[in-house]
Symmetry: C2
Subunit: 360 residues, 2 copies
């Protein structure tokens, strides 16, 4: 009810939930009609035991649900398939084409007849080392959904295997399907116990860190954060950070023309072509085992420089000089990354996520 009071489209939310539920039923019925055993689990019940039980995982939701589904799958031969049950709200980049949402038996038929190919989406792994690190992941979606206390967010079986060698780099128990983002975050402080629920604060603080790309020399940087993505993630947040606007390309070409460098008329068509080509060059195949790093709003002055603000790489190392920063994986899991911590970021093809591409 508080949503209605705020003016949100509460009725709209209810309707989308109804549509989602109907779409989920369609998928489940289609599977059971083929005598496939289905366990339907909600977000909070979805865990590694469920994944172990399954031969394949189908996420029913949008791209966010697909990220969540993938986050518990570490077996490169366990297919994860996304069905977009919320096409109004989600682009569904990670899901099957939206027509299968209402015609799922067609998708099943294609799978039976082999009218598909396997697609391995490369993922990023993270090593963390250094003084005072805290390799315990915090599940951001749990914070959003459950509003429970966070003791369980700090328990992670997979990590405990690594505790034996405290001094060496810890392999974190996550694999990024879209990206790892490193930047200053905001803290919730203990003394705000009695704060009014509406209290919030946001402070844009620059992130300080040092970065080494492909074992190159360390470079000090100050920016609004560092994004390292996969081919899958190259069309997600990374794309929004790096894409160029028609308006900006037009101004750049106008200036080039002023310097006598343009011999074609500067028309909308040319600007559009150049804009599109540039933005397309930011995208690459999810199956390529390479990462794309980009620095968000680099701050360049006497102290800090950026020789390269973005590019492809096999390995990125970052030393935090941050006060209160995080590494955030796929917008869903967060690790402290403060002064003294060193992260090594790379792709290992063993970590790939198995999905399917249906023939059209």
């Amino acid at each position: 009810m508080s949503l209605a009071l705020k003016g949100s489209n509460y009725a709209g939310l209810l309707e989308r939930h109804r549509i989602h539920t109907k779409n989920v039923e369609h998928v489940v019925d289609s599977l059971r009609n083929e005598r496939i055993e289905v366990r339907l689990v909600k977000r909070r019940e979805y865990n590694e035991e469920t994944v172990r039980w399954a031969d394949a995982v189908i996420s029913a939701g949008g791209d966010g649900t697909m990220l969540l589904a993938a986050s518990k799958v570490f077996d490169k031969f366990k297919p994860v398939i996304g069905v977009n049950t919320d096409p109004e709200r989600s682009e569904g980049h990670l899901c099957l084409p939206v027509r299968y949402t209402h015609a799922f038996p067609e998708a099943l038929q294609k799978l039976y007849r082999g009218e598909f190919r396997w697609q391995w989406r490369q993922r990023i792994r993270l090593y963390l080392e250094g003084t005072g690190i805290n390799p315990t992941p915090v599940d951001l979606h749990e914070q959003q959904l459950s509003q429970e206390q966070h003791s369980r967010a700090h328990i992670n079986e997979r990590f405990q295997d690594q505790r034996s060698d405290i001094s060496g780099p810890h392999l974190l128990p996550v694999r990024a399907l879209n990206e790892v983002f490193i930047g200053e975050s905001l803290s919730s402080r203990e003394n705000f116990k009695s704060c009014k629920p509406s209290f919030k604060f946001s402070l844009h603080r620059a992130s300080y860190y040092e970065i080494s790309v492909d074992d190159g020399p360390w470079e000090k940087q100050k920016s609004s954060g560092l994004n390292v993505c996969t081919g899958t993630g190259s069309k997600a947040w990374s794309y929004n950070i790096n894409k160029v606007a028609h308006q900006a390309v037009e101004e750049i070409l106008k200036i080039a023309k002023k310097h006598g460098s343009l011999n074609m008329p500067l028309n909308t068509e040319l600007v559009q072509k150049v804009t599109n080509d540039y933005n397309e060059s930011l995208l690459y195949s999810p199956e390529e085992p390479k990462m794309f790093f980009s620095i968000r709003e680099p701050i360049v002055n006497r102290v800090f420089s950026s020789s390269r603000q973005r590019g492809f790489s096999s390995k990125v190392c970052v030393r935090s000089r941050c006060w209160d920063a995080c590494m955030v994986v796929d917008g869903g899991t967060s690790f402290e990354f403060n002064d003294g911590a060193i992260a090594s970021i790379m792709i290992d093809t063993e970590d790939a996520l198995c999905t399917v591409l249906l023939e059209e």
Copy 2:
């Protein structure tokens, strides 16, 4: 001591504090030598009563201190002068040239001899209206420094004058010297009372809002936030959001060349010229009574479009469709800005900040 354990340069921090203190003493002594009465107040003691007492205000610190000093001055004839006592760490854009830091009597002499001119830095005012708004400002610097409870952050005398007409737009008791930033923030939730002090989370969430520029048609947008700045602020965060990298200009010109549009060789010199010209065009005089709005990482798809991602304007209106957003003024004061709230943003020359430009 916890700083030393984290690996920060604690000795460096102490040294900068020593330098700052010495520089402040120099300024105070210079003033008292001229028989000027000086009240030296620390950040937390600085308030509107102090400003009322003074004929002029001198901030001793970096640009952040200058923003704080300006934030309590609403009289357009009360000069505010910044002395950069931390030149190693602050660019000092808002302060006197750094040589006066150690030669303040020279600055005073110029003031006495009239070897200066007044400079009025235009500032932005904000009106807030709509359902469920909370016009109480939260002082972000207080959160950082005092770690006290926030009851005093919610008391604001100036605002109480406006309470009489609840239904009309409220003029907020702040004036932005650099910029207003609107975007989704992070919440500290009441139930996290017993969280470990190290608990933090950061979730990059897109901001939804509708925007109308210069009373134009409303446009739905989704982005990483909206920045509206002054001429002063055009060289601050706005500059970092909008500046283009040499690397990006090079790629754009390469693509234009590929389309047969470049008749000059594509060399570093040309790229540098175009890059510099473009970036310079983002800056304008602090005295111009116009605002520059820019959308950070706009998300463009079927639903959301951005006809213009940045430009000059006299008035910007924003309707929040956000879940948990803020309007942040000069990185220091924050207002809730959630679904149902409408902000009107503009410059009124009555709000200008009086500073001085010394002749060189």
